[in-house]
């Protein structure tokens, strides 16, 4: 889902960068206010951990492997959608500039897709489902699935606006593929959340997943 350079025309890429920068600025404000500016290093180290998590091969039912994005997990555990934005921005910067995974001019679009959508859909999806059915693990599953699926749909829409991939086929291939592997992202998010609540329940900002 990392869009490479050249697949989005430059003027559109700038628009995505501007939108992404607004969310990055809000994420920095969140880090300063909610965590205390001095605790920013904690999120930085966590971003390195998320990078390692993304390297783990996850089996896809038909035999190939995929990778977790992790924005929903970070947002749920740290109790803010901006955690997903902050962590994924750092991860995408390293992936783009060091590994060439995802472009530089299109990094704004990638940050929106994976960080902003992943973080916001993951966090608010988790809260909504938690309130509705009261089970945090089912909520984490739904949030993980929705965060990946909606990110892929948005990616398909961006490529269609760019004119580099037709919308119907983009939704069919990228949306369809991620709707299936989103189940795995959701499942892993729920299992990882279960382990975190068992091992370090104090890490969770909102253990019940419901804000007052």
């Amino acid at each position: 889902m990392h869009i490479p350079d050249a697949f989005i025309p430059f003027p559109q890429a700038i628009v995505y960068w501007v939108i992404a920068l607004i969310f990055i600025a809000l994420a920095l404000r969140w880090a300063r206010r909610s965590m205390g500016e001095e605790r920013v290093p904690l999120v930085a180290v966590l971003a390195a951990g998320i990078f390692a998590i993304q390297a783990l091969n996850i089996p896809i039912p038909w035999g190939t492997s995929g990778h977790m994005v992790g924005a929903a997990l970070a947002a749920i555990v740290l109790g803010s959608p901006y955690a997903g934005v902050f962590v994924l921005t750092l991860v995408l910067l390293v992936q783009g500039f060091i590994f060439g995974d995802g472009g530089i001019t299109v990094m704004g679009a990638n940050i929106i897709n994976m960080g902003v959508v992943g973080g916001f859909v993951g966090f608010y999806g988790y809260q909504a489902v938690s309130r509705l059915i009261g089970n945090m693990y089912v909520a984490a599953f739904v949030a993980g699935w929705a965060s990946l699926f909606i990110s892929a749909v948005l990616c398909a829409v961006e490529l269609a606006i760019a004119g580099t991939f037709p919308l119907d086929l983009g939704l069919l291939f990228m949306g369809g593929y991620h709707a299936i592997i989103g189940v795995i992202e959701g499942g892993i998010t729920a299992i990882a959340l279960y382990l975190i609540t068992s091992a370090r329940p104090d890490i969770l900002e909102r253990p019940q997943g419901v804000t007052g």
């Binding site: 001095e38 180290v45 390195a48 990078f51 992790g70 060439g100 995974d101 001019t105 086929l169």
Partner: protein, 271 residues
């Protein structure tokens, strides 16, 4: 990807005229090429521009004295998603052409169009130039130097500090990741082994991911505490020594930027 972390950094620690260049010069050069390649509208002229930029890249790679295999190996790892999008282009119409001429007709009504092949070639040309310069940048520049260069070029300290810390801990977690993978392998666990029940594999991967998350959080807490002990506070930032560019570095950067801009404008305006 994480397996390549050590090899990328190992090559970045080599020495050559390109390795010795200030990271700011390499970073600006890379950004200039990528922006130029992306900014030129989709047209066959892009291919001419890409050829010139690729020759420029090849010259710089030769000066860096890195083996061609290093470039090829990294290219193969980066290509898949971009190549999927590019190959797909040849079967569909796009809005950048008015008329499409089928050149091959396949079963199920699938057709390959001449204009779509041309568009796919344009995308490929832009894509290959961009990733080639990223490979050059990361293979000849240490990660920490890259962060410091970003700071010297004006990236706010709110970013340089966490980015610098993240890069430092990437290697810690890469080591941890490799140990975890070895531990799983010694227990004959392969997440892709279809003989094991799928649910069991997913459960183990989920626990592993949760465990890496907890360990990274705990590492973050320890790091934060130890930084506090050393006087870290709200106003702390990454220390960047003043390092003005050498005259020849500045001259190289100026000539390169001039070359990139001139070539781009000349090819874009050519009839």
């Amino acid at each position: 990807m994480i397996d390549d972390l050590f090899s990328i950094e190992k090559y970045a620690y080599r020495t050559s005229p390109i390795h010795r260049l200030d990271a700011r010069v390499k970073l600006l050069l890379t950004l200039a090429v990528i922006i130029a390649a992306v900014a030129v509208p989709y047209s066959p002229k892009v291919i001419d521009l890409a050829v010139v930029f690729f020759l420029f890249f090849a010259a710089l790679w030769a000066v860096s004295q890195l083996p061609v295999q290093v470039y090829a190996q990294r290219l193969v790892l980066i290509l898949p998603f971009g190549i999927f999008l590019i190959i797909f282009q040849i079967f569909v119409k796009n809005r950048y052409y008015d008329i499409f001429h089928p050149i091959v007709s396949l079963p199920f009504g699938i057709e390959i169009y001449a204009e779509s092949v041309e568009f796919a070639s344009i995308l490929f040309a832009k894509f290959i130039v961009c990733i080639s310069f990223i490979i050059l940048l990361s293979s000849t520049t240490r990660m920490q130097d890259l962060v410091e260069a970003s700071g010297r070029l004006g990236l706010p300290k709110e970013f340089t500090l966490p980015l610098g810390m993240m890069i430092r801990y990437l290697f810690v977690f890469a080591e941890m990741f490799l140990k975890i993978r070895s531990a799983l392998e010694t227990r004959c666990f392969d997440p892709l082994d279809r003989r094991l029940p799928y649910r069991y594999r997913l459960l183990q991967i989920g626990y592993t991911i949760g465990m890496i998350f907890v360990r990274s959080y705990e590492q973050g807490e320890r790091t934060y505490t130890s930084m506090l002990c050393r006087g870290y506070g709200n106003d702390s930032g990454m220390h960047l020594r003043r390092r003005p560019l050498h005259l020849r570095e500045a001259a190289f950067l100026a000539c390169s930027i001039l070359f990139i801009v001139t070539v781009t404008i000349v090819i874009y305006l050519a009839p």
